[in-house]
Amino acid sequence: MEINEVFKPSKVEEAIKLLDHYQETSKIIAGGTDLIISLREGKESASVIIDISSIKELKEITKREDWIEIGAGVTFTKVVNATMLQEKYKGLIDAAASVGSPQIRNAATVGGNICNASPAADFIPPLLALEAVLVIAGSNGIREIKLNDFITDKGKVALSKNELLVKVKFKELKRNQGLGFNKLGLRKALAISRICTSVYLEISEDSKCRDMRIANGSLGRHGLREKVVENYFKGKPLTSETIEIGSQLLEEEVNNRLQGRSSAEFKREAVKGVFTVALNKAIENSRL
């Protein structure tokens, strides 16, 4: 670790100025739970470190019109305890609560989880299912981009060297809409997800699926949507038969995607159960 200079800006504009000045030589740190390890292992290098964990405006969870906005510097502990997110956003809270350990959730941030774009990031699938939009600040002003377009590959995101992720936002859930999350890890705490699935669901007046968005983690090079399965469910009633057929479609998708990997055999089987639980949670949640 050869770090020559460190900064602790208290405003987004200051952070942008620093990024603009130092460009590739600099790295942003917030919780540090991924960055410090990769710096020490030599997987990443930076001579300048910019700590954004003192920027207050990045640490807020707010409601603006019909959008919920979560600051990039919000820790997972804060998500779990957020009054605004209780009950209706249990899917998000479950995802936040499944990250790492208490110590890691106290430090690690929503923005870090998104920008590191790990295939196993626990918070990305529920945000993809919510069709989240990212707000990014740069020296040329503010821009917005869909999370789905932001993640371009494993660990790769559409963020320039002089830009900073400010917040992630999504449309408020209505009465007939629900979100579910489920994760398969090797143990309860500190488990990197082997499969994590989030389902967004909108139910029509005649109790059919009007819209569904399924997003998976650890089943591809990055968190991704399962459009084939989503399309199958649209307009159909949610019965044990349709859920069974939908799960089998998901199995085929996962099997094709993971071909040649040693984990394919267990994952294609396990994903059905993980998905069914997430879907049932979403159904329950849509009644709140």
Binding site: E5, I29, I36, I49, S101, Q103, I104, L190
Partner: protein, 160 residues
Amino acid sequence: MKKIALNINGEEYVVDINEDMRLIDLLRDKLHFTGTKEGCGEGECGACTVIMDGETVNSCMVLAFQAEGREIITIEGVGNGEALHPIQKAFLEEGAVQCGFCIPGMVLSAKALLDKKPAPTRNEIREGISGNLCRCTGYNKIVDAIDKASKYLKEEGETK
């Protein structure tokens, strides 16, 4: 080099740090708070746990400069130097300590939990220490000890 000010166990410190120093390096090597242990160095074991502004963090995953202006509690700041803290007393009585390497972190996780939730269930205790590995005890005696400590702290509160 950079100068930072921070509060450790109730005392103000102004120290010179290297930019690449982690909080654990500052605590152990520079200020000799050697009660904080380094185990895995990657956030899995929790041996380096300290309390920062009321919340536990792995001090191997915080850069020293990030601790500027923060309040840190290490295991040295838990008792008062003479009498044991009720959590420490309960750990000894319940036989919750074997090799002892994980105990500073374990006690701090227990303290952070009990500060927020004075009467946790056994499941909440397990969740509260889920970021701290112990390879000796099998955890049951540690959970017993934290349960007992919560009763001690309640009694202490009542007599005050």
